[in-house]
């Protein structure tokens, strides 16, 4: 067990070191969701959005839950990219030729992606707070938001890693998140509540795990525990199922690639 932690700690620190040396990339991934979505999109639709429909005091307050989950989505889907590079330049092979537990590489990645995503979510909530959005459920609510984000992130990161291990080329890898990301956002309750969507879109959005996550995060920010708890209970169930499926697929892809 001691050896296992030694491996995981060393591999996680490697990701941290890499990130600290890519300062621009770190800045942009951090700024992008708040700037584009929360500030631009939130203000742009402030007057276009109907308060009766969004059931929120401002569009930004409605959008905050969506931006939080979108951040989890984007980080999760990109979570495997560094492993793709490792696979392509032979570094993964070098790691695998050492006597490490096979899962250390993957676990270190989960820990890293989850931590970075959680920090980003906190930054988004802080910016939203500056824009007048205060989660009514307080610190405990924020902790619950982080937990939901983490559960969703684990499944997404597993999908991303499975792709990294399976794809033949870079292009294949990057085209999937590029293709998936926007439909996932539009076919969810991130920008518009389900009830206000065209029937077919609302129908499809029900099958999007992102919708479940947002529907639990939103009342934690806007309404309170009483409204949030049933949704939180549901999302935990959905996410357990989602994560189990993704982890199963990820483990298969990993075994195929590594042997």
């Amino acid at each position: 067990m001691k050896e296992y932690w030694q491996e995981i700690r060393a591999l996680t620190m490697r990701w941290v070191r890499r990130l600290s040396r890519e300062k621009f990339s770190m800045l942009f991934t951090l700024v992008q969701p708040m700037l584009f979505w929360l500030i631009f999109f939130g203000n742009l639709f402030q007057r276009a959005a109907d308060m009766q429909v969004t059931q929120a005091s401002s569009y930004i307050s409605f959008l905050t839950a969506g931006v939080v989950v979108m951040t989890v989505l984007n980080n999760g889907l990109a979570g495997g990219v560094d492993l793709l590079f490792d696979k392509e330049n032979g570094f993964l092979e070098r790691l695998m030729s050492t006597p490490i537990h096979r899962t250390s590489v993957i676990l270190s990645r989960f820990i890293f992606v989850t931590t970075i995503t959680s920090l980003q979510v906190l930054v988004i909530l802080a910016v939203a707070w500056l824009l007048g959005v205060q989660p009514v459920t307080g610190r405990l609510g924020v902790a619950m938001i982080l937990f939901i984000g983490m559960m969703f992130g684990v499944g997404l990161t597993a999908i991303s890693m499975a792709m990294a291990f399976s794809v033949k080329s870079h292009g294949d890898f990057f085209s999937v998140p590029g293709f998936l990301s926007l439909p996932m956002i539009f076919l969810s309750s991130a920008l518009v509540p389900l009830a206000a969507m065209p029937g077919w879109m609302g129908f499809l959005a029900q099958f999007n795990p992102m919708t479940w996550a947002i529907d639990a995060v939103r009342p934690l920010i806007l309404q309170g525990w009483a409204e949030a708890l049933p949704h939180v209970g549901m999302v935990i169930g959905v996410m357990v199922l989602f994560d189990a499926l993704c982890l199963y697929g990820g483990a298969r892809a990993f075994r195929r690639a590594i042997g």
């Binding site: 491996e7 070191r17 890499r18 330049n89 032979g90 570094f91 070098r94 050492t98």
Partner: protein, 323 residues
């Protein structure tokens, strides 16, 4: 003389999408030697190496490393071997020292052990000055040295090198050769793949020539050359019919071992050039067979390769082996 066997490969097979990458391969590696797997790209060298370092599971056959099975005892095997991959498997954002620290943790070294080994290795591969610079600032030769330091970090009993000097300039190559020889001096068994004839010839104690996933020849470079039988006299003739006549005439001369007709003339294996050369020239004169060019040389590894595979290793276009 029986020697201690470090690696025993027995009837190894591995197929990729119906192509036999490795086809019934069997050989032994002796403790303390440098064994070279020589062959063109796609011959099955890297596949063999990856089976030996436990990264590939052979569907049939077995590989035993220091008595441990490459599949069943994979974890124990990994503790005793070092591996230097073909690609520059370097994280460009990490410094040289950080690479070694990372690997020290992956080999479960104690901090004290790591802090004595790492500076020693950096000194050995002459990277002390650059140890704290990110690897993206390193030259190809420096990256290779770091690769080798990484391979040596676990203090391995066997070191596997995949194309150790591919793409390096001459000076860096010679330095790497020195490092490999130094490893042998320290008692490390080295298994390396190469598609450079001179590297195999000068660096390896024994060579396994691999082509089409099979071993075509195995032995010390000089044994393989001697095994070809005699020095080689190559004649380029002007008229084809005359060359045929000459072939018939020289066949039974003393000191001649074998005569083969080539598209341009004759290849003649001779025991003693002092006796054979005048006799060949005399016969050519007598038959008025005009010669354009005469070449005489000791057998080279290239000749060994051609003799065993039917083609020159240089015929193969360099391309990345993707197996």
């Amino acid at each position: 003389m029986s020697r201690a066997v470090a690696i025993e490969v027995s009837h190894l097979k591995k197929t990729y999408e119906k192509v036999r990458a490795v086809d019934d391969l069997s050989f032994q590696v002796y403790a303390g030697e440098i064994l070279g797997l020589l062959g063109p790209n796609g011959a099955g060298k890297s596949t063999t190496l990856r089976i030996l370092i436990t990264l590939l599971h052979p569907p049939s056959g077995s590989a035993t490393i220091l008595g441990m099975d490459s599949v069943k005892d994979a974890d124990r095997v990994r503790k005793t071997i070092g591996y230097v991959p073909q690609e520059r498997a370097i994280d460009r954002f990490l410094t040289g020292r950080e690479h070694l620290k990372l690997l020290a943790d992956l080999y479960h070294l104690s901090p004290e052990e790591a802090s004595t080994r790492i500076p020693r290795l950096l000194k050995l591969v002459e990277l002390e000055q650059q140890a704290d610079r990110p690897a993206k600032t390193y030259s190809g030769g420096m990256k290779r040295k770091l690769d080798i330091a990484c391979g040596l970090l676990p203090d391995p009993k066997i070191l596997f090198l995949d194309e150790p000097t591919l793409g390096l300039d001459v000076q860096s190559r010679l330095r790497i050769w020195d490092h490999v020889r130094a490893m042998r001096e320290r008692g490390i068994t080295v298994v390396m793949t190469t598609n450079y004839l001179d590297e195999a010839d000068q660096l390896c104690d024994r060579i396994a020539i691999i082509d089409g996933g099979r071993i075509k020849a195995l032995g010390a470079p000089h044994e393989l050359k001697v095994g070809l039988g005699g020095d080689l006299v190559s004649l380029t003739g002007r008229e084809h019919d005359r060359v045929e006549l000459l072939a018939a005439a020289v066949k039974d001369l003393p000191a001649i071992r074998a005569v083969t007709t080539t598209p341009t003339g004759l290849d003649i294996r001779v025991d003693s050039p002092e006796k054979a050369l005048p006799a060949i020239l005399e016969a050519a004169n007598r038959l008025t067979c005009q010669l354009e060019f005469i070449d005489y040389h000791r057998p080279r590894l290239d000749d060994v390769f051609i003799a065993h595979t039917g083609r020159s290793i240089k015929d193969d276009q360099p391309k990345a082996e993707n197996q």
